[in-house]
C-alpha cells in the first residue's frame, strides 16, 4: 500500500520535472518552472523516507529498532548541505555562475559515484526477491560509478580553471591523445573484466574508481577556458545519465526519469552550443583549442598600427553618432561593468542616440551569459539583438562599442581558413563606421588568437578596466 503511494509521489515528481522544463521555454514562466521542480524534488525526498525495506520501514533495522545514527547523519547532511548550498548560491557573483554550476554538477557526479560505491557490495547480498538480473544491476552500477567519477573529476578541473585556481589555457603534453585513448581503452577493459568475473570485493572495482577519476582529469585539462561551457554542459549530461543508471540499480523511478531527462537535455544543450561555435563536439573535446595557435598567429598574424584613444577623445565620436551598437563580452562580466554600461546607454539615449545591444551566442562563458548580466542591470529585452538580427545592421551603424569581447568579433573567422575560429559566426562589427574597443590590454582573448580588428583603420582602442573606462566614458558623454 505505502509502496503504491510512494510510486505515485515519484510519478508526481517526474511530472513536475517535465512541466518545469516546459515552463523554461519562456522567460516569464521559467522561474515558476524552477520552483515547481524544487517542490517536486522535496516531494520525492519525503516519499523516500517511507520506503519499505522487506517488512519494515527503511528507518528501522531488522529488529524493528529506529536507526538513530543513520537518521542523525542524514539530518546533519541536510542541514549542512542546505546552509552551504544556499549560502554559496546566494553569495556568488553573477560572473562566477559558470564555475558555480560546474561545482554543483561535480558534487552531483560525486554523489552518484558514492551511491554506486556503496551499492556495489550489496548486489551480491541475499536479496533474492530482486526481479532485475544481476548482470544488469552490475553493469549499471559499474557504469554509473565510472560516469559519476568522470563527471566529478572533470567538473572540479573545470571549476578550478574558471575560478582561475589554475591556468585557463589548455594544458597539453606529448602523446596526450594516445594516453587518453589508452586510459579510455583501459577503463573499458577493466569494466569488461569486472563484469566477467564479479565478486563482492574485487581489486578491479577500486582500480576502476581510480582510472575513471584520472580520465575525468585528463579529459578536461587540455580544454581551454573558452570551451568550458560546452564541457560543463556535457558533464551535466553525464551526471544525468549516471543518476538515471543508478535508478536501474535502486529500482527508483524518480532517479530513472530525472536522470534520463537531464542526460538527454544536457546533450541537446551541448550540441546547441557547439553549433553556435560552428565546431563539432569532437573538436571541442579533443582539439586543445587555443594551445598551439598563439604561436601560429603571432608569426603570420595581423600587423599594423593600433590607434589608442583617451576616453575623452572617444566620447567625442558619440557626438556625431545617430546609432550605437554595444557588443558586450567576457571583459564586461569580469569587470562587473553591466550597470555602468546601462548608464552610458541611458545617457546616449537622452541625447537621442539609438542604442542596441548585440549578443553573440557564445559571448562570455555560457550561452546566455550576457543576457543574464544585462538583465541584472535592467536592460530592456527589446534592445537585445541576436547575431542574425544585428549583423545586417552593422553597415548602417555609426559606432560599434565593443566591451571586453574579442574572439566573437574577430573578422578572421569569416575568411582566414588557417584561423582556429574559421567558420564561427561572428558579429560583423568591423563593418560599422567606427569601432570603439574597450579592452584591458592587447593580450589575445581567451582562445589565444590575435584579432586583426584592433588594427583596422576604423578601430579605436581604449585601454583599461571595462568598468572604469565605461564610467569615464559615460561622464565624458555628459559633457559633449
Amino acid at each position: 500500500m505505502t509502496s503504491d503511494l510512494i510510486n505515485i509521489a515519484y510519478l508526481v515528481t517526474a511530472v513536475t520535472f517535465m512541466l518545469a522544463l516546459k515552463l523554461m521555454n519562456g522567460p516569464k514562466t521559467a522561474r515558476k518552472g524552477n520552483i515547481l521542480a524544487a517542490v517536486g524534488m522535496g516531494l520525492a525526498l519525503i516519499a523516500t523516507f517511507f520506503l519499505p525495506e522487506g517488512n519494515h520501514s527503511i528507518l528501522q533495522n531488522e529488529a524493528g529498532e529506529f536507526k538513530s545514527i543513520n537518521v542523525l547523519l542524514l539530518g546533519l547532511a541536510f542541514v549542512l548541505g542546505s546552509i552551504g548550498g544556499a549560502w554559496s548560491a546566494r553569495k556568488v557573483q553573477m560572473t562566477a555562475m559558470p564555475q558555480m554550476v560546474a561545482l554543483f554538477n561535480g558534487l552531483g557526479g560525486g554523489a552518484v559515484a558514492l551511491v554506486a560505491l556503496v551499492e556495489y557490495p550489496h548486489l551480491f547480498g541475499t536479496m533474492t526477491n530482486e526481479t532485475m538480473p544481476l548482470g544488469v544491476r552490475l553493469t549499471t552500477t559499474v557504469l554509473s560509478l565510472v560516469i559519476g567519477c568522470i563527471s566529478f573529476a572533470g567538473s572540479m578541473i573545470a571549476f578550478a580553471k574558471l575560478q582561475e585556481l589554475m591556468t585557463g589555457r589548455p594544458i597539453t603534453w606529448p602523446g596526450q591523445k594516445i594516453i587518453n585513448l589508452g586510459l579510455f581503452i583501459g577503463t573499458i577493459v577493466v569494466i569488461a573484466l569486472l563484469l566477467a568475473n564479479a565478486t563482492a570485493q574485487p581489486p578491479m572495482f577500486y582500480a576502476l574508481l581510480g582510472l575513471s577519476l584520472i580520465l575525468g582529469v585528463t579529459l578536461v585539462l587540455p580544454i581551454g577556458g573558452a570551451d568550458m561551457p560546452v564541457v560543463i554542459s556535457l558533464l551535466n549530461s553525464f551526471t544525468g545519465c549516471a543518476a538515471g543508471l543508478a535508478g536501474f540499480v535502486l529500482g527508483n523511478t524518480a532517479l530513472l526519469i530525472g536522470g534520463g531527462l537531464v542526460g538527454a537535455s544536457g546533450l541537446i544543450l551541448t550540441l546547441e552550443m557547439c553549433k553556435a561555435m560552428n565546431r563539432p563536439l569532437s573538436n571541442v573535446i579533443f582539439g586543445a583549442f587555443g594551445a598551439v595557435d598563439t604561436t601560429a598567429s603571432s608569426s603570420g598574424g595581423p600587423q599594423g598600427t593600433v590607434r589608442s584613444y583617451s576616453v575623452e577623445d572617444a566620447a567625442i565620436i558619440f557626438a556625431s553618432a545617430n546609432n550605437v551598437v554595444i557588443v558586450p563580452g567576457y571583459g564586461m562580466a569580469v569587470a562587473q561593468a553591466q550597470h555602468v554600461v546601462k548608464e552610458l546607454a541611458a545617457k546616449l539615449m537622452e541625447k537621442g542616440i539609438d542604442v542596441k545591444y548585440a549578443i553573440h551566442p557564445v559571448a562570455g562563458r555560457m550561452p546566455g551569459h550576457m543576457n543574464v548580466l544585462l538583465a541584472e542591470a535592467d536592460v530592456d529585452y527589446d534592445q537585445l539583438y541576436d547575431l542574425e538580427e544585428i549583423n545586417p545592421m552593422f553597415p548602417e551603424t555609426d559606432v560599434a562599442l565593443v566591451i571586453g569581447a574579442n574572439d566573437v568579433v574577430n573578422p578572421a573567422a569569416r575568411y582566414d581558413k588557417a584561423s582556429p575560429i574559421y567558420g564561427m559566426p561572428i558579429l560583423d562589427v568591423d563593418k560599422a563606421k567606427t569601432v570603439i574597443v574597450s579592452k584591458r590590454s592587447m593580450n589575445p582573448g581567451f582562445a589565444g588568437i590575435e584579432n586583426e580588428l584592433f588594427f583596422e583603420p576604423n578601430t579605436i582602442m581604449v585601454f583599461g578596466n571595462a568598468k572604469q573606462t565605461i564610467a569615464k566614458l559615460s561622464a565624458a558623454v555628459d559633457s559633449i
Binding site: 520535472f17 522544463l21 521555454n25 519562456g26 522567460p27 521559467a30 522561474r31 524552477n34 521542480a37 524544487a38 524534488m41 520525492a44 525526498l45 523516500t48 527503511i58 543513520n70 547523519l73 542524514l74 546533519l76 547532511a77 541536510f78 548541505g81 552551504g84 548550498g85 548560491a89 546566494r90 555562475m97 554550476v101 552531483g108 554523489a111 552518484v112 558514492l114 551511491v115 560505491l117 556503496v118 526481479t131 532485475m132 554542459s233 551535466n236 544525468g240 549516471a242 543518476a243 535508478g247 536501474f248 535502486l250 524518480a254 532517479l255 530513472l256 526519469i257 530525472g258 536522470g259 534520463g260 531527462l261 537531464v262 538527454a264 537535455s265 541537446i268 550561452p367 546566455g368 543574464v372
Partner: protein
C-alpha cells in the same frame, strides 16, 4: 520492478528530455543548464537510501558524503537558477506596475 519496465521508463524519459529541451530559446540556456543541473540532484534520493541502509562505519561515511553532495547539488542548483531567473522576471513586473 521488471527490467523491461525500467528500460521503458528510462527511454521514454530520454525522449521527453529531447523534445522538451529543443524548444528553449538561447537566452534561457544558462538558467536551463543550471536547472537541469539541479534536477539531476535527484540522485539525493539514492544518497538518502544508501545512507539509511548503511550498516558499517565505512558505509555510513560514504552514505553521509553522498547525501551531503546531493543536498549541495539540489539546494545550490535550485537557488542559483532562481537567482538567474529572478533577473529575467524583474523587468516585465516593473513595466506592469507603471
Amino acid at each position: 520492478m521488471s527490467l523491461i519496465a525500467v528500460v521503458t521508463i528510462f527511454i521514454l524519459a530520454v525522449f521527453v528530455g529531447l523534445e522538451v529541451i529543443a524548444k528553449v530559446p538561447q537566452t534561457l540556456h544558462t538558467p536551463l543548464m543550471s536547472a537541469t543541473n539541479a534536477i539531476h540532484g535527484v540522485i539525493l534520493v539514492g544518497g538518502v537510501i544508501v545512507l539509511l541502509r548503511a550498516d558499517s562505519t565505512l558505509m555510513l561515511v560514504l552514505g553521509f558524503l553522498a547525501a551531503l553532495f546531493g543536498v549541495l547539488n539540489v539546494v545550490g542548483g535550485f537557488v542559483v537558477t532562481d537567482r538567474m531567473l529572478e533577473m529575467f522576471t524583474r523587468k516585465p513586473k516593473k513595466e506592469a506596475s507603471k
